[in-house]
């Protein structure tokens, strides 16, 4: 009798596989962990579903969608008009864009720093090494000490792509492991600046960010990230070749449900709607 379960598994696997509805998600490396958590939680609630997640980058995901080798393309940037046109030319229907979560990066300053707000352009110049003194951005004179994440972090890549426009970080930037490390360093350094996800540490404050020098500055709080008015934030998307059907549809419905959106919070991103949020 003890051998039976093993035998049953061995024999049933080939029989079950074709019956299971396999959904593939390919694309953004930023979203890989999020996608995996979604897949794990979804598969735990539906025994017959199989969700396969691979990364490779948003661009890779979009070309996979174009070639039809993935069901869902995960992308941390909106598709360009050219890409949308290419997809429509191939399938005959416009691709479907579904925002699934929001991602934002907070800028940390020491509480002793008189600077309260910076424009996106100023932050970029600070981190690429063009602005090196606080007096150039309205602070007290003194060298700006840059704190950054290690280059294996998704936040590093987001910051580089979204804030630095893909330019290289200044070599003077110290790389610390983890947002907590950055927050701790800034809390001990009155001339420091850092960035990261939501982090709570004594001695640091969030810097309000202006999209440009004419627009108002917003703090990275839930309200402004969800409304899209906080400049250092972005939507994360799923793209489909056409309207969702079958297993893909039920997966995406679940992702957008309260259960799916609470996974977003647990991974460290922001949910689409305030209702699903549990963070304060």
């Amino acid at each position: 009798m003890k051998k039976l379960p093993l035998a049953a598994v061995l024999f049933s696997v080939p029989l079950l596989l074709p019956a299971a509805q396999s959904v593939t998600i390919k694309g953004s490396d930023t979203m890989v962990i999020l996608n995996q958590r979604w897949a794990e939680n979804y598969m735990a609630s539906r025994k017959d579903a199989v969700i396969q997640v691979t990364g490779g980058g948003s661009g890779t995901g979009i070309s996979a969608l174009l070639s039809g080798s993935t069901d869902i393309c995960a992308s941390s940037r909106p598709m360009s008009e050219k890409e949308k046109a290419a997809l429509q030319a191939k399938t005959g229907v416009p691709p479907v864009e579904i925002p699934v979560a929001k991602d934002g990066v907070a800028i940390f300053l020491n509480t002793q720093n008189p600077v309260k707000e910076l424009t996106l352009a100023q932050i970029k110049d600070i981190y690429t090494g063009k602005i090196t003194d606080w007096k150039d951005v309205g602070g007290t004179a003194g060298r700006i000490i840059l704190y950054s994440r290690e280059n294996n972090s998704g936040t590093y890549v987001f910051f580089k792509e979204h804030v630095l426009n893909k330019q290289d970080f200044s070599p003077m930037a110290s790389n610390l492991p983890g947002t907590a490390g950055v927050a701790n360093a800034v809390s001990k350094d009155p001339k420091g600046i850092g960035y990261g996800g939501a982090a709570y540490a004594k001695g640091i404050k969030y810097c309000a960010v202006q999209a440009d020098d004419k627009s108002p500055a917003y703090l990275p709080d839930e309200k402004h990230i969800l409304a899209g008015t906080y400049a250092a934030s972005r939507d994360l998307y799923f793209y489909l070749r056409g309207p969702a059907q079958g297993e893909v549809k039920s997966f995406i419905d679940w992702v957008l449900s309260r259960a799916g959106q609470s996974v977003v919070v647990s991974v460290g991103y922001f949910p689409l709607k305030k209702a699903a949020s549990k963070i304060k």
């Binding site: 840059l146 294996n152 580089k160 070599p171 110290s174």
Partner: protein, 312 residues
């Protein structure tokens, strides 16, 4: 009969374990080296991170000048090793500058001047320093001494080379001290007796007779300490700031070779040029510390032969 059998078995086991140690050393080198080989053989890896890019830098700026930058995650990845090599050497020099005088002075004190009772206390205590996990030293440097050094030298950068070098020095002291102390005590008592009999004071004896006689051993201690400092990872990962700056200024942060491997290998795309470069750094570090240790051991051997009078 029984006894000789058991002896033979024990001898075999000992021989086997010695052989295993050597074999694993060679295998480690082969396996690390294997992952670095594509930098020479694969066209893709060579185009992105060939030896010329690693050691001469990328041709980036419009005027065709080569830039020495470590930016492996970038539109155009840049893998110049010089910022890392300079950073590693800079920190090692600071560490040795701090550790050598202290360790060698302590070794001379315990071997020449300390009363026997005191020596029995001081030696084990200094050697206990070697038992402090480097992550603890790193954390201590990151949280406590960083602020202290910043205030002391009025530095802009809190995580600077003085700070990490100091913590590295704490890790190096016990090694230098132990080997140097052994070298000093290995100097035959007759040397000291002869010197004192000729009217030299204990200090003159220590400085002009014992120290020169033990010098090869002390030199070896230095080399071993150097090897330890260059390979140390956790302390520099935590306390250095990890900024790949090409500058010898000890007031700046730095990024060491070992910390680069530790920080980046965890998430690097398997089989990418970046991955192979990290293994190449591993080969460099391995070769470096291996050669240094080998040289150190040879010096110790020479000293031993010299002092036991096999050849002078």
């Amino acid at each position: 009969m029984n006894r000789s059998w058991s002896e033979r078995i024990i001898e075999g086991v000992i021989r086997l374990s010695a052989g295993l140690a050597i074999a694993s050393l060679i295998l480690i080198f082969i396996f690390i080296g294997k992952e670095a080989v594509p930098l020479f053989t694969s066209a893709e890896a060579r185009a992105e991170a060939g030896m010329s890019k690693l050691f001469l830098g990328n041709r980036e700026s419009p005027d065709g000048k080569r830039v020495q930058v470590w930016q492996p995650v970038s539109e155009v990845p840049k893998y110049s090793l010089w910022p890392l090599i300079v950073g590693t050497l800079k920190a090692t020099l600071v560490a040795l500058l701090f550790a050598f005088p202290l360790a060698i002075a302590a070794a001379i004190f315990t071997s020449e001047f300390a009363p026997p009772g005191l020596r029995e206390v001081v030696k084990p205590v200094i050697e206990l320093l070697a038992g402090i996990p480097s992550v603890v030293l790193g954390f201590f440097a990151l949280i406590v001494t960083a602020t202290y050094f910043q205030d002391l030298f009025h530095l802009d950068y809190r995580l600077n080379t003085w700070n990490a070098g100091f913590a590295l020095g704490l890790a190096v002291i016990p090694i230098v001290y132990t080997v140097a102390e052994d070298a000093l005590t290995a100097v035959p008592q007759s040397f000291r007796a002869g010197s004192i009999a000729l009217g030299a004071t204990p200090w003159q004896t220590a400085r002009r007779v014992v120290f020169p006689a033990a010098f090869p051993g002390i030199f070896a201690a230095g080399i071993l300490g150097f090897g330890r400092a260059i390979g140390e990872t956790m302390i520099v990962l935590m306390a250095s700031g990890n900024a790949a700056i090409l500058s010898w200024n000890p007031g700046y942060s730095f990024r060491s070779l070992s910390a680069t491997v530790a920080a980046e290998l965890g998430e690097v795309v398997n089989g990418s040029p970046h991955y192979h470069v990290l293994f190449f750094i591993g080969v460099l570090l391995f070769a470096f510390t291996f050669l240094l240790n080998l040289a150190g051991q040879l010096w110790v051997g020479r000293l031993r032969r010299k002092l036991t009078g096999a050849r002078s």
